[in-house]
């Protein structure tokens, strides 16, 4: 138990130290901007497919489950659409989508940086006088922080599309009924709430995964282990951040 405690504080300390090296003025702005665009494409655009697919399916499934399990003549007809909307906007398109991306993007970042560490590529940068933490990690964090809100909006839209498609292709719900639900008592702030959460989650995924990759030592096995740790720990942190942010923004 005590060991767990000390290792927790050791990690937090090293993470803070790494971040203090990441957030300094870059050696070359042009290079940083170029790398940021590359990362936006590699980490953000490349995740578009999985976000679209999962969001559509979740929209479909939510409607079906809701209709099957909650249909009750005393409930107003807009209940299903409204509940689906709130779930998508409040939790699904931000938190659940981020958990999925923590798996995809987090392991990608940790194994990429970890491999660079064990093959001495990071040492090579340091010897040249390049701040490797800033050069490698800063563009990844910037890219995730900017792309995550976009992915969040896409996820919301695709979730609604999934809901509509149930109306188009089946008898479970009519599109009018779903649309009524979507509009009933709509609060635009919930969209912002989702976006704000995604900015924080994007920062967590990129920085925590970079941290686990950056401090790998050993061989290929250790890179694998660190990428698992990156995914587990950024997922836990996302859930903790969800509790904190919800208290701050909605309560």
């Amino acid at each position: 138990m005590q060991g767990l405690f000390t290792s927790f504080f050791k990690n937090v300390g090293r993470y803070a130290m790494l971040m203090s090296r990441v957030f300094v003025l870059p050696d070359r702005w042009r290079e940083t901007v170029r790398r940021t665009f590359q990362e936006m494409s590699a980490l953000g655009l490349n995740s578009l497919g999985i976000v679209v697919i999962i969001s559509i399916f979740m929209g479909v499934i939510m409607i079906i489950q809701m209709k099957l399990n909650f249909s009750n003549p005393f409930l107003p007809p807009y209940t299903t659409g409204m509940a689906t909307r709130e779930m998508l906007l409040l939790e699904f398109s931000s938190t659940v989508m981020s958990l999925i991306l923590a798996g995809k993007v987090g392991s990608n970042i940790a194994s990429e940086i970890g491999t660079m560490r064990i093959t001495e590529q990071i040492d090579a940068m340091e010897i040249m006088g390049v701040n490797s933490a800033n050069y490698l990690i800063f563009p990844k964090i910037t890219a995730m922080v900017t792309m995550m809100p976009l992915l969040c909006i896409v996820s919301m839209a695709m979730g609604f599309l999934g809901g509509y498609s149930v109306g188009w292709f089946s008898e479970i719900i009519t599109t009018q009924e779903f649309e009524l639900g979507l509009q009933f008592g709509f609060r635009p702030f919930y969209v912002f709430y989702g976006i704000i959460k995604c900015v924080v989650y994007g920062f967590l995924i990129a920085s925590v995964s970079s941290y686990y990759g950056y401090y790998v030592h050993g061989g290929a096995l250790d890179v694998g282990r660190s990428s698992t740790e990156a995914v587990v720990n950024s997922s836990v942190l996302i859930l903790l951040a969800d509790i904190v942010l919800t208290n701050f923004l909605l309560a």
Binding site: D27, R28, E31, T115, M116, T119, E120, Q121, D123, A124, E126, I127, M128, G129, V130
Partner: protein, 255 residues
């Protein structure tokens, strides 16, 4: 010239360097030799500043690296080039981009000038044009070493460090790499420090040899003096292989 004065380094009470003093000369290939585990890599990493030493001085033409601030270390590093054991090429960049990287980060050259310098360096290490646009994983180990040399010299460093440049290469390729490093050293008047336990390269390019044993400097001299040093520990190391025993016997017979 790099001067080491009484360098001590220990890890958690395990003293690895026990007071090493040596002079590494300019325009010459300075070899650090010694058995596995004797502390060669630790010595080199201490000289570069990747390890913080416990006490002693490391003077780069009079400038003491361990007492420098981070900013000063960073600017000194622009005068250093390093060839890592595995090459350490950036695998998300092509061969050309690897060599261009230090220029992009630290020079004010425009794109065309940078490209010219990259070509110059890559042809200096005898790399074929057809490899320029490939990624490091698509070329052989020997080629990777050459690209790494090109990257190390692209900013005209004053100090060049090589950690086991021959590991994983066949005798012929290692000879080519050794000669290349030697030529470049003389050409650009660099202080070159090479970490090796390959006796062939020791005899081939050993201008100034520092023999490390259990964390202390046991002997220093040139490759001509090596065979007749009279130092028992050095003899144990040098004549560990049968081939070199025969070389010595043949030399005796000739006399």
């Amino acid at each position: 010239m790099i001067e080491l004065v009484d360098v001590h380094k220990s890890f958690d009470g395990n003293e690895v360097l026990k007071g090493v003093s040596a002079v590494l000369e300019e325009g010459k290939t300075n070899l650090i030799i010694g058995q596995s585990g004797s502390g060669k890599t630790v010595l080199m990493k201490s000289v570069i500043g990747l390890h913080r030493i416990d006490s002693g001085k490391i003077l780069y033409d009079g400038r003491d690296l361990p007492s420098m601030r981070f900013k000063q270390v960073k600017s000194l590093r622009r005068e250093m080039g390093m060839l890592f054991q595995g090459g350490a090429l950036f695998d998300f960049m092509t061969v050309e981009q690897n060599v261009e990287f230090p220029l992009t980060m630290f020079s004010n050259l425009i794109k065309i000038e940078r490209e010219r310098r990259v070509r110059e360096c890559l042809s200096r290490v005898n790399l074929k044009e057809s490899c320029f646009r490939l990624h490091p994983s698509e070329i052989s180990g020997g080629m990777q070493k050459r690209v790494a040399i090109a990257r190390a010299i692209v900013l005209n460093p004053r100090y060049l460090f090589c950690d086991e440049p021959n590991s994983g290469l066949d005798p012929y390729s290692s000879l080519i790499i050794d000669r290349l490093i030697h030529e470049i050293t003389e050409e650009y008047k660099m202080v070159t420090v090479i970490n090796t336990h390959d006796m062939n390269s020791v005899m081939e390019i050993g201008d100034n040899i520092v023999f490390i044993n259990k964390g202390t400097k046991e002997w220093q001299g040139s490759s001509q003096q090596l065979l007749d040093s009279g130092n028992a520990l050095l003899d144990d190391f040098v004549f560990a292989s049968d081939l070199f025993k025969k070389v010595k016997q043949a030399a005796r017979l000739q006399q």
